[in-house]
Amino acid sequence: MKKIINNPADFVPEMLDGLLRAHPDQLSYTEDIHCIVRADAPVEGKVALATGGGSGHLPVFLGYVGKGMLDGCAVGDVFSSPSADQMLAVTKRIHGGKGVVYIYGNYGGDVMNFDMAAEMAEFDDIPVRTVLVRDDVASAPPEEAERRRGVAGMVFAFKVAGAKADLGGSLDEVVEVTERALANIRTMGVALSPCTVPMAGKPTFTIGEDEMEIGMGIHGEPGIKREKLQSADQIAERMTTAILEDLQPQAGDRLAVMVNGLGATPPEELYILYRKVHQMLTDRDLSVHRAYVGEYATSMEMAGASVTLFRLDDELAALLDHPAHTPFFTQV
């Protein structure tokens, strides 16, 4: 895959430099450029939310830093965790006196580094709580749900947590509502083509011209099955059925739906997928409260898509509807 880049080693810092130049009213940084924070951080009296993870997933992670969502983000190299001291720097900078919640995807390196950061933050008397995102049903069976990866569903977690904090929720309340949200969020994806990590210079995996991988992770981790490319309706049905079996919504339930593109798949195709997902939900007497169709969590130029379902109660629906404004996500 051809890339529009300079020196591959500068990929992340140049991307961040561009981002800060494009959104000076919304974003700033602390310590080094990998520590991105809201321009108005710290927001005094508000529970602060931090995330972090590898680069290459825009808008995830740092694209959700802004009003009504996150306060800061530690930015790693492509597909690799940022370091604990970068996370600590973000934590200190965004703390508005009410504690900090870490919300991020369940990946080994990230978990260990955020845990280290949390331990260090304690020395500075900053109460830190952690909520792990593990929404990818393809990555482990229900009995081992705590092993699951975090993928596009984390955007719903950011949204709900951000709204609760924005509305003045306490540290406990923000953690509780985010965990409740995540208990009701499931995602599954399909990949059609690999992507290339700039420093590696070659595709993350190979896949036949007529193949797809069902359940692949957003770094190209193996999924459930490699098979012949199917029609949009069949793909939508595969993903949606797997999620519904795991989530077990009841007739009459209200859902938010996200059809997320992994990078190279055009919005036209995402809407063709959404069409089938919506038909399936309607057939089961499930209603759609809000639909998100677009690129919310990507793998650079990977072709493919994921479906996320989020079962709502009244509070979760209200928090999802709350306005937000970040460089990549504006909701009115």
Binding site: G76, G109, E221
Partner: protein, 210 residues
């Protein structure tokens, strides 16, 4: 006859390990490609370069502080799973020898065990999960036992290496239970865990030099 290890010897040993990691980068990457995301060689080389840079200016007066700083430099250079675990190991080992400028075999044994325990706490992997712990834990135990029995450092090192190799081989037929490799499922059976292989390489390098 009590052996002592100087700060310079510690720094030298670290340099040799770094050189080995850089040299074996492609080998480690190829192991991680079969089982994970194929970055372990790259990140361990980054870590080694970070440590080598740290070594250029770090003071050896307090080996505890020295190792703590080494751990932080390692984490900054390579915050991957293995990099972070390595950083944790270095920091925990440093905590054991705060203020010391020379180390005894007992110190080494304590450092080794502290690293093992710290890395288990950090990564939450248990023996049998098919991670670096399966080579590290038996090696730390064997090293401590040898020191306890009054064996020479060289002998203790050999026994640690043997235990690490045995640990690696014991888990190779198993399925990886934690980390990225766990998502690969059954396809991990029969494949060497990259973390174990890396740790065996580290011990081999340390033994060669001693």
């Amino acid at each position: 006859m009590a052996e002592t290890i100087s700060g310079d010897a510690v720094a030298q040993a670290l340099r040799r390990v770094c050189a080995a990691l850089i040299e074996q980068s492609d080998y480690l990457t190829s192991l991680d490609q079969a089982l994970g995301d194929g970055d372990m060689g790259i990140t361990m080389a980054k870590l080694a370069n970070g440590l080598l840079e740290y070594l250029e200016t770090a003071s050896l007066d307090d080996l505890g502080k020295f190792l703590l700083g080494a751990g932080m430099a390692a984490n900054r250079a390579a915050p991957s799973t293995m990099g972070t675990l390595t950083a944790t190991g270095l920091m925990r080992a440093g905590r054991e020898v705060k203020g010391k400028s020379q180390l005894s075999p007992q110190d080494l044994a304590a450092m080794f065990q502290a690293a093992d325990q710290g890395m288990q706490e950090r990564g939450k992997a248990k023996p049998g999960d098919k991670t670096i712990i399966d080579a590290l834990h038996p090696a730390a135990q064997a090293f401590a036992a040898a020191v306890q029995e009054g064996a020479s450092l060289q002998e203790a090192g050999q026994r640690a290496l043997a235990a690490a190799r045995e640990g690696l081989e014991k888990v190779t037929p198993l399925r990886s239970k934690v980390g990225r490799a766990s998502w690969v499922g059954e396809r991990t059976q029969g494949k060497v865990d990259p973390g174990c292989a890396m740790f065996v390489l580290v011990l081999e390098t340390l033994n060669e030099g001693s």
